[in-house]
Amino acid sequence: MNLLGKWHPGFWKRKLQAAPGRDVHFEAAPASGLDDLQMRLNQWSDLWGQDADPAIRTAAQELVAERLTRWIERCFGQHVESSLRGKGRPISLASSTPIFTAFLGRRATRELSRRVLQDI
């Protein structure tokens, strides 16, 4: 084995494969994980736009709006929150994402969205 002369990825590949815990091979995508993921994505997609009539909103939609309002107030103050709300329409992830991205950046906005959708 010639590790001394040159960078040798094959060496590391063999070493890492021989390490304990490497006996499990993950060649295919785990199916159970895909089911869970699909379920979450469907739920989150429904919650993203939230353009339903405020009178028929679900508890999850209410929770998302409440959390978003809290974040907007915390980041920008009450004034922005009321202007975002506009003509009586509830705040949604779709409507608030541009302003969050502009002021906080993409990464922080992604983290914020993740927290808003936490446990839903």
Binding site: K13, R40, L41, S113, R114
Partner: protein
């Protein structure tokens, strides 16, 4: 991007990359449930990024970076939560020492290398071993490809010196 397209793209990315990503997360954590969590979280974040209109050019590198960050953050917070009280530290150390000599040689070698190398160098080595090229490593670590070369060179030098020392014991 609309929700339907983002969902479809996430599922497609999952089918393409989940196997490799799970292996990567498992290699970082050596813990099945945590690796599974990292996998789910990574794809959920991928979906959110698409919904936010993020332009992800190299999905594989993006997913690996997010998985890596998630694992690091989780392990860091877990380490803080499970900090050993000072009075138990001696007992803990003894248990560690008893466990070490019996461990597999390859694992010892990897652990020694991990301790020897700087975190960035170790990340580069791991990604190179996983089959990433310099450009992909650079994208994932948000550095220039030239820096990847330097980091790998430095890592090799450190290992070379360590091996020489081992060959010629004082």
């Amino acid at each position: 991007m609309d929700a339907q397209s983002a969902r479809e793209e996430t599922i497609q990315a999952y089918q393409l990359h989940a196997g490799v990503l799970l292996a990567y997360a498992h290699r970082l954590t050596r813990d099945d449930p945590l690796a599974q969590d990292a996998l789910q979280e990574t794809f959920l974040r991928y979906f959110l990024a698409l919904m936010q209109g993020e332009d992800i050019r190299n999905a594989r590198a993006w997913l690996h970076r997010v998985a890596h960050n998630y694992v690091c953050e989780t392990l860091r917070s877990a380490r803080v939560r499970t900090a050993v009280p000072l009075e138990d530290a001696g007992e803990e150390r003894l248990r560690d020492e008893r466990g070490m000599p019996g461990a597999d040689r390859a694992a010892d070698w990897i652990e020694a290398a991990r301790q020897l190398l700087a975190p960035r160098e170790w990340q580069c080595v791991q990604l190179r071993a996983a089959g990433f090229d310099y450009t992909e490593i650079a994208t994932e670590l948000e550095i220039r490809p030239g820096t990847v070369g330097s980091l790998l060179h430095r890592a090799t030098e450190k290992l070379r010196i360590r091996l020489k020392k081992k060959e010629r014991p004082a």
